[in-house]
């Protein structure tokens, strides 16, 4: 009995090592490298406050990139992230205008609105077979249109509720910002879902070969739709957290999350073609992107140089570990 269990845990560990592919290890190495480079500029880059601050800010991207990753694993992409984030934040704040009940349901309502966008995306991709790159672009435009109408017409309430603020900036555990805690919970749930559930398996299966998954009796369309709904929900949740962080919601708040979320997912070793990738990689990618942006900002790099370095660093890191195999074996 005992032996058996030991054997099991051994295989689990070796399985884990098997899964920790070199890409992720390299990504984490790059994080350390960045910090060390930063510390030449100022020792504060290694201070706990700075690191925690980075983790906290990374949490928003982390939550949003989680949704992006699920969709990317399917071999799809979600370009409606910017306005899903904004809708999540704006609608959560809007709900708060409706008394204590509204306030209590603010975050769920924001998430529900994001899920509605995800549902539209999901129906488009799964049932109408419209390429995700284009349907999500269109729903993004529609969401933007709705928010413009809404802002102009309904005298919106846009301050975050106490709960939103607490989730984004408070401390449940001393020393650990709640945002980080939330990201950890979202991350753990995602790892579980991706690795231990039929949904997760199906996501990988569909990402590799949808026709084979379908003929295996998987309801691939429902899985795809669910994944897009999850992505919409996570973007909107990210938006709600972000408005908690800024204590208010604003239209442009999602703009800064689209390209970074894609870059984070891919820097983390997830194949943009789908079917391959692990959440740990996404964590690394998110931290990498956040740190890079922060260090360039603090070093007062002018915007031009910032863009150039940002691009060059991403390419350099991908060249280091993100290359696809050569054709010839």
């Amino acid at each position: 009995m005992n032996d058996l269990m030991r054997e099991h845990s051994v295989t689990r560990i070796s399985k884990f090592m098997h899964r920790l592919d070199p890409a992720i290890a390299t990504a984490f190495a790059c994080i350390f490298l960045l910090l060390i480079i930063g510390s030449f500029y100022s020792a504060s880059f290694l201070s706990p406050e700075y690191l925690l601050q980075q983790l906290k800010v990374a949490s928003f991207l982390g939550v949003i990139a989680t949704g992006m990753m699920i969709v990317v694993l399917l071999g799809q992409i979600d370009l409606s992230v910017p306005w899903s984030v904004a809708v999540g934040g704006m609608m959560a704040c809007a709900a708060a205008a409706y008394g204590p009940l509204g306030e209590a349901l603010a975050i769920p309502f924001g998430i529900a609105c994001g899920m509605a966008i995800g549902l539209a995306n999901g129906i488009g991709v799964a049932y109408l077979r419209i390429p995700s790159m284009i349907i999500t672009l269109a729903t993004n435009a529609v969401a933007q249109g709705l928010m413009v109408v809404y802002t102009g017409g309904f005298s919106p309430q846009d301050s975050a509720t106490f709960a939103m603020r607490y989730l984004a900036t408070g401390f449940l555990l001393p020393g650990l910002p709640n945002a980080v805690l939330i990201w950890a919970v979202v991350g753990a749930a995602t790892v579980f879902v991706l690795n231990r559930t039929t949904f997760g398996r199906s996501v990988y299966g569909i990402g590799n070969r949808e026709s084979a998954a379908y003929l295996s009796g998987i309801n691939t369309r429902r899985i795809i739709m669910t994944a897009f709904i999850a992505s919409g929900a996570l973007s909107a949740f990210g938006g709600a957290l972000l408005s908690g962080y800024a204590s208010k919601a604003a239209q442009s708040m999602g703009d800064a999350y689209l390209l970074p979320s894609i870059a984070a997912v891919v820097l983390g070793g997830t194949s943009i073609l789908g079917g391959k990738g692990s959440y740990l990689g996404t964590v690394a990618g998110v931290i990498l992107i956040t740190l890079l942006q922060s260090i360039l900002s603090v070093m007062q790099m002018p915007e031009a140089g910032r863009q150039i370095i940002y691009g060059v660093v991403i390419i350099a890191m991908l060249l280091l570990y993100g290359r696809s195999p050569a054709n010839r074996q």
Binding site: K15, H18, R196, T197, T198, F199, R201, S202, Y204, G205, N208, R209, S211, A212, A213, Y214, L215, S216, G217, I218, N219, G275, K276, R328, Q329
Partner: protein, 517 residues
């Protein structure tokens, strides 16, 4: 012949000392091959013996770890298929190399299209296409048709036509006929014989022994990546050759069929009445009883595949009705078809796109169709999964370096076993098989035949489409021959003969068939 170590002329092509490893697997070890002009050379071996690897090295697709190749006595090494083809070595691959979105004509002249003013001359290209299609015995294919709109068997012919456009000196067919029916094969064979008479060297890989016997001049047998023997054809019997391939004694190919019971004593499990779909299926009525293996015969493309897909819930807008255990069912998706009360399984035709997720692990592929059974509330019970998988791997003797390697790294035959295994894990009551032994070696085929019979004995109802008449004859209790989307004839018991199969497949009276096939 007096001094065999010093042949009179240098052979056209020679390779020796060729080794190739994939991780721990020796795909080839010190393999050799000598090819003569005007000669058809068969390479035989079990799945995973290294046949494809050998010819991929010849054709410049795979770089060998060791070894050398001589063409006309001069050392050569090809860095790409194009280089090999330019040197006269052209391969029709086991995996198709046609571009689905381009037309047949575009594909045939793909690498070196005729040009005018530097641009592709489509008129000239069309002329070439028509000529090559004719040489490949496929002049009925329109050169402007897109390849993806052609059925698989036609694509194979286009593939051959394309290879011919290179004007090769050595033409390699790696299971180039595995998707073809007897009639198509006959046509291809006459083409190959003509090419031989024109002085080409042909290398031919097939798992169909009777094809080898009919066609080959020389045979080379591989086992586990090593040469076992090379000998002129007809110097050994089929049985001897098979024993060389599998390295053990070979018993008879097909398990015995049970005594036939009267038709009305068989309890029908699957029944369809007047099933129709688009222009492809018309008024198909059939029953498959408990414990029965019912074959589907006929030329390829007569609706057999669609019939299976219709039963499995893949086709929309079918007419007529399907009954399971006497009750009418609606099959709107594979998910519905595989569900509890119905318990249907479909072993699909193309394992690469329909059966497997090649980059995923053997484990993940095996349990993919039973995820609902090994999970509770959507959470996978890993121990249960493991148990079922191990059982299956043993039952089907799947040869793999582990459960956590990508299934794509297995040989073709073992991949096919994984496809079958993943469905057997559900213990299905109704099993639909779409040409399941394509590309499978005799040993494995035999295992599959036995398995089918065992499953039938255990109560499954089996509907089995095969392009190999021998299989239909050997395995099936009844065979339904399809022609143009309807059942043309039902053969039973001793009435299942090659003669009858061919005759009804061609939709001619049996008296007209004479020596066909």
């Amino acid at each position: 012949m007096t001094a065999p170590e010093k042949p009179a002329a240098t052979p056209l092509f020679e390779m020796s000392g060729v080794s190739k490893r994939y991780g721990g697997v020796h795909a080839l070890e010190n393999a050799k091959l000598t090819v003569e002009a005007g000669n058809i050379h068969a390479i035989l071996g079990e799945n995973g013996a290294g046949k494809s690897t050998l010819i991929k090295i010849m054709a410049g697709v795979v770089a060998p770890d060791e070894g050398r190749m001589l063409l006309d006595g001069h050392p050569v090494s090809f860095r790409s298929p194009a280089e090999a083809s330019a040197a006269g070595v052209t391969c029709v691959f086991q995996e198709l190399s046609l571009i689905p979105d381009l037309s047949v004509a575009d594909n045939i002249s793909i690498a070196a299209p005729p040009r005018r003013f530097g641009l592709i001359d489509r008129k000239a290209q069309r002329v070439i296409a028509e000529e090559m299609l004719a040489r490949a015995g496929a002049s009925d294919i329109h050169p402007r048709e897109l390849v993806k709109d052609l059925p698989l068997s036609r694509r194979q012919l286009v593939e051959i036509a394309k290879a011919l456009a290179w004007k090769p000196r050595i033409l390699i067919l790696d299971e180039g006929t595995s998707a073809l029916t007897a009639a198509d094969v006959a046509e291809v064979f006459s083409v190959l014989r003509r090419l031989r008479s024109e002085g080409l060297a042909l290398i031919y890989i097939s798992h169909r022994m009777q094809e080898i016997a009919e066609l080959a001049d020389q045979c080379t047998v591989l086992r586990n990546g090593r040469n076992v023997a090379s000998f002129p054809a007809a110097t050994h019997s089929d049985g001897e050759i098979v024993e060389m391939m599998i390295g053990r004694e070979y018993s008879r190919a097909f398990p015995p069929k049970p005594e036939r019971v009267a038709k009305d004593e068989v309890r029908p499990v699957l029944e369809c009445r007047k099933l129709g779909w688009a222009d492809t299926l018309h008024d198909i009525s059939l029953t498959v009883g408990r414990g029965e293996v019912v074959g589907l015969g006929g030329l390829d493309g007569q609706g057999q595949r669609e019939l299976l897909l219709a039963l499995f819930g893949v086709l929309r807008g079918t007419t007529g009705s399907v009954l399971v255990d006497g009750k009418a069912v609606t099959l709107a998706s594979p998910a519905a078809a595989k569900s509890g009360q119905i318990g249907m399984a479909l072993i699909p035709e193309d394992r690469k796109t329909e059966g497997l997720m090649l980059p995923m692990t053997v484990r993940e592929n095996l349990s993919f169709a039973v995820l609902d059974r090994v999970s509770r509330a959507g959470v996978i019970d890993q121990e249960k999964e493991e148990r079922l998988i191990e059982e299956m791997v043993q039952l089907l003797a799947i040869k793999t370096a582990g459960l956590d390697i990508p299934v794509g790294a297995l040989s073709g035959g073992n991949q096919q076993k994984v496809v079958i295994a993943k469905w057997l894990m559900r213990k299905p009551r109704i099993i639909l098989l779409n040409d399941p032994t394509r590309g499978i070696d005799v040993g494995t085929k035999q295992e599959i035949y036995q398995l089918l019979r065992r499953l039938a004995e255990a109560g499954a109802a089996i509907l089995f489409y095969s392009t190999d008449y021998g299989e239909l004859i050997g395995c099936c209790d009844r065979v339904l021959v399809l022609y143009n989307g309807s059942i043309r004839r039902e053969l039973t018991g001793d009435g299942i003969t090659e003669h009858a199969l061919v005759a009804s497949a061609l939709n001619v009276g049996s008296e007209n068939v004479g020596s066909a096939a």
